[in-house]
């Protein structure tokens, strides 16, 4: 029992004023957080949202008085329950961490010590501060595991981190944070790495337990729909500054600032679907597996009509990326074939002609790793022009400029290296690289998943425009239903290497749904604060009635 805790719900627990945090890179200090205020009451949950680089993680750690190596807390006050963390000694701060303020990291797998059991690590901080005895703490931990709906709550603690799945580890980490009954928990992007269907369960567990113990929390994420389910108040950060603060319902219904409004905007695009019968690519009953092991593609058949976008949806392990590898020739099918414009494609890359290679192009998810960091834009877009079309010199440069303009950039970009481009610009260069070959079919493998919301919108707009102007066909692989709604004509749903459902967008996204599609679609968080509660009620009712 924490004897230091006093105060009622509604009292101010955390009051951070004018926080400035610097980071060290390129031989000097830069400001990462530029004078931000944070006020949190007891039992209140604050959602801290912003894009990558906004400074959310750094700010969250600062609430514990902690700065990572390479960062420093330059100025401001951090009042935690009357104690100024900027002025306390390292030893006193250490006494607070793990007992009154707890942290749940983004990557559970990396944050657990591989040499100790989960139970030992869960109760470590509690026992150290003598908040409970070891036996009490362990019994309490098992109860927490049960509350968090972990399988085998009495025995799971005796396992080691690598023996347990990602979603389960995230919940154990939540139990670990809860064990000392802290006043404040900082959740740092805890569900970002999880599948949509796992995410629902973890979110529900987290919310339940935080409410149960009246713990205050800061929930850091870049996903607005998720934060809408969890938070009482929301703070929007951008480039280290506060853009807007409001309670959840107000912010969702009337956001004030432009930037906040723009964060919602992707969900507004919707492509009108088209029908076509001219099939440019046919995947015909394909099986595939990696040397000797189980099948990763099982009797997969997909038809891709010309000039349209077929979205392949599924979670990790569904086989959607593997299907792309089979189409490009990196993974030859063990059964079945792939037909391009009616003619079968040689199964392996080596056997294909340059012409065949040219017609099917691929764009990758992470533009950072899709471009050689030592090549300039000129090299990157210019190489396919040289290799496929044999263009050189002035002719090549002319075509290069055309492509650059097509992707809405200008000639100042041509001699830049990838490190000198933003995320969206990099992806645009990758698009230009694919266009340079003069393809008929482009496979987009999660191309917007790693981008921030507003940038995603720009890229999707661009892709749609290019499709109309150039008559391109797209296979769009994604796990994000909103993106699917935005740009597809047809949808293919995959699960564990099989095609579960296939058809026009309007058919698939309307009920009645087959089981998995239903699960997948319903697990996508909506911008409605009551969504999660509603969903849980619905599922409980279904469970009870045996549906």
């Amino acid at each position: 029992m924490s004897t230091e805790r006093s105060g009622q719900k509604g009292d101010i627990l955390l009051d951070m004023r004018n926080i400035v945090i610097d980071g060290y890179s390129d031989d000097r200090w830069h400001e990462i957080v530029k004078g931000v205020d944070v006020t949190l009451k007891r039992g209140e949950i604050m959602g801290l949202i912003g894009e990558s680089g906004a400074g959310k993680s750094t700010l969250g750690l600062a609430a514990m008085g902690f700065a990572r190596p390479g960062c420093r807390l330059t100025s401001g006050t951090i009042m935690f329950d009357g104690i100024d963390l900027m002025k306390t000694s390292e030893e006193d701060k250490r006494a607070l961490r793990g007992s009154r303020i707890a942290y749940v990291a983004q990557s559970a797998a990396a944050s657990f010590n591989p040499a100790h059991t989960l139970l030992a690590q869960t109760v470590e901080a509690t026992v150290r501060r003598s908040i409970k005895t070891e036996d009490e703490a362990k019994a309490d931990a098992r109860k927490l595991y049960r509350d968090l709906q972990l399988p085998n709550p009495d025995l799971i603690g005796d396992r080691y981190p690598h023996q347990v799945s990602g979603g389960q580890l995230q919940r154990v980490m939540t139990a670990m944070a809860m064990s000392p009954r802290p006043d404040l928990i900082i959740f740092d992007e805890p569900t970002t790495a999880l599948d949509v269907t796992t995410q629902v369960e973890v979110l529900a567990s987290m919310r339940k337990i935080v409410e149960q113990f009246n713990t205050a929390a800061i929930y850091i994420t870049h996903d607005l729909a998720v934060v809408a389910q969890m938070a009482d108040v929301i703070k929007v950060l951008r480039y280290g500054e506060t853009i807007e603060d409001a309670d959840t319902r107000s912010m969702l219904s009337h956001p004030e600032k432009e930037y906040t409004k723009s964060l919602w905007s992707v969900r507004s695009i919707e492509k009108p679907e088209e029908v076509s019968n001219d099939i440019v690519l046919r995947v015909d009953h394909v099986d595939a597996s990696y040397t000797g092991s189980a099948k990763v593609l099982d009797d997969v058949s997909i038809d891709v009509p010309r000039g349209q976008t077929v979205a392949i949806v599924g979670e990790s392990g569904s086989g959607k990326s593997t299907a792309a590898r089979a189409i490009t020739g990196l993974l030859p099918p063990s059964k079945g074939q792939i037909l391009f414009n009616g003619k079968p494609l040689p199964p392996t890359l080596k056997e294909r002609s340059v012409d065949q290679l040219q017609k099917i192009q691929m764009i990758y998810q992470m533009a950072d790793t899709a471009m050689n960091p030592r090549h300039t834009v000129r090299d990157i877009i210019g190489r396919p022009l040289e290799f496929y079309l044999g263009l050189r010199g002035a002719e090549r440069d002319r075509r290069l400029m055309e492509l650059v303009e097509m992707i809405e950039l200008n000639e100042s970009f041509i001699d830049r290296l990838p490190a000198e481009l933003s995320g969206g610009q990099k992806q645009r260069i990758c698009i230009a690289r694919a266009l340079a070959a003069g393809p008929e079919l482009i496979i987009c493998d999660e191309v917007t998943s790693a981008l921030d919301q507003i940038v995603q919108k720009g890229i999707l707009e661009l892709l749609l425009r290019l499709q109309k102007e150039l008559g391109l066909t797209y296979i769009f692989i994604t796990h994000d239903i909103a993106t699917v709604k935005a740009i597809s004509d047809q949808i293919v749903v995959m699960l564990e290497g099989r095609v579960v459902e296939q058809g026009m967008k309007s058919e698939i996204l309307e009920p009645p749904y087959p089981d998995y599609t239903k699960l997948l679609l319903s697990s996508v968080p909506e911008m409605d604060p009551d969504w999660l509660t509603g969903l849980l009620k619905e599922r409980a009712a279904e469970g009870a009635s045996g549906v």
Binding site: Y24, S25, D26, D27, P69, G70, E258, K261, S262, S265, S268, I269, T328, G329, L330, L349, R352, V354, L357, M362, Y364, M366, T369, A370, M371, N372, P373, R374, R383, P384, F387, Y388, I407, E408, L409, N410, F413, L417, A419, E420, L421, S422, G423, G424, Q425, R428, R433, A437, I454, V455, K457, G458, E461, L462, R465
Partner: protein, 317 residues
């Protein structure tokens, strides 16, 4: 930004009205500097050990290149007094056959350092080329064959293996270069393969393969530019190792053969003088001079490589 803007912009033009355009996105712009500027910046922040190292290396290279101009006498020129004491004529005296020690020291720079450098280069071409190729064809029969062979070759300590091979094929300079280069290429293979594997999994290498690029293009233009820093550092370390191994073998008598002036052999030839240390200090120093020459260069290279590794790993201290 116009505060009365539409809530749902839907075209690029409208977005641009709002002040958004792709070209205006703020990227992680780092001021791009030329190589020369980078080198100068690097030198200004270098620790004293690295500066010391660079000066020493430059001096050695200078002596190696201009040996015939700098040495007072010939490499194998024999004078009628062996073990002559240090004097004005023979700055460091003469060795057991009557050859001027100073001249042999200077020529030794050319021979010992030169041979070590050539051997390292050789090891790098073989080991590096095979290592990168193995990484590109990761898990193929070629990769497995090369990796297992390297494992076996590395299971025998280099010095011992070199001794065995030299006893088999005879100890002369050419054999020495080939044997050491082949043995050392195994280490280069390991590291080239390891760093290349990090690069090979990048999507841009897959993109190159999908384009239909040939092995050589992928090796030379996609992978090599991205693995230079660790390879350059490894070159320095390998040079030290090769240099010390050749010196050790020469010291043991199975390395570079006389009359070629070589620091390792020089130590062996004049080692007997050490026992006179208490009586004639400078005589005892005669074998220490080539030994110190070896030590000094290795220390210098190690300091420079250490600093280079520190810089390129970007440690936030």
């Amino acid at each position: 930004m116009n505060p009365e803007d539409d809530m749902n912009p839907s075209t690029a033009a409208e977005l641009a009205d709002q002040g958004y355009s792709a070209a205006d996105e703020v990227g992680m712009i780092k001021a791009r500097r030329t190589t020369l500027e980078n080198v100068w910046r690097g030198l200004k922040t270098a620790p004293p050990t690295a500066i010391f190292g660079l000066i020493v290396i430059t001096t050695y290279v200078f002596f190696a290149l201009f040996a015939p101009l700098l040495a007072p006498f010939g490499e194998a020129e024999i004078f009628p007094m062996s073990y002559a004491p240090w004097s004005d004529e023979f700055m460091f005296g003469t060795d057991q056959l009557g050859r001027d020690v100073l001249s042999r020291l200077i020529y030794g720079a050319r021979n010992t350092v030169g041979i070590a450098f050539v051997t390292t280069l050789f090891a790098f071409v073989i080991g590096g080329g095979l290592g990168i190729t193995a990484a590109i064809n990761n898990n193929s029969w070629l990769d497995n064959l090369l990796s297992r062979s390297v494992d076996v070759l590395m299971a025998i300590p280099s010095l011992i293996f070199a001794l065995i091979l030299l006893s088999m094929f005879g100890a002369n300079t050419l054999n020495l270069i080939i044997i050491i280069a082949v043995l050392d290429s195994t280490r280069v293979f390991r590291i080239a393969r390891a760093v290349s594997l990090n690069v090979v999994v990048m999507d841009y290498v897959e993109a190159a393969k999908l384009r239909g690029e040939k092995l050589f293009w992928i090796l030379y233009r996609e992978i090599l530019p991205n693995i230079m820093p660790p390879l350059v550092a490894e070159f320095g370390l390998r040079f030290c190792f090769v240099f010390l191994t050749i010196a050790a073998l020469s010291f043991l008598g199975v390395g570079i053969q006389p009359p070629t002036a070589d620091w390792g052999s020089m130590v062996r030839e004049t080692a007997g003088l050490i026992q006179f240390a208490e009586y004639d200090f400078t005589a005892a120093m005669t074998p220490m001079l080539p030994a110190a020459a070896i030590a000094l260069l290795t220390v210098a290279v190690n300091f420079v490589v250490d600093w280079f590794l520190h810089k390129s790993s970007g440690l936030k201290d």
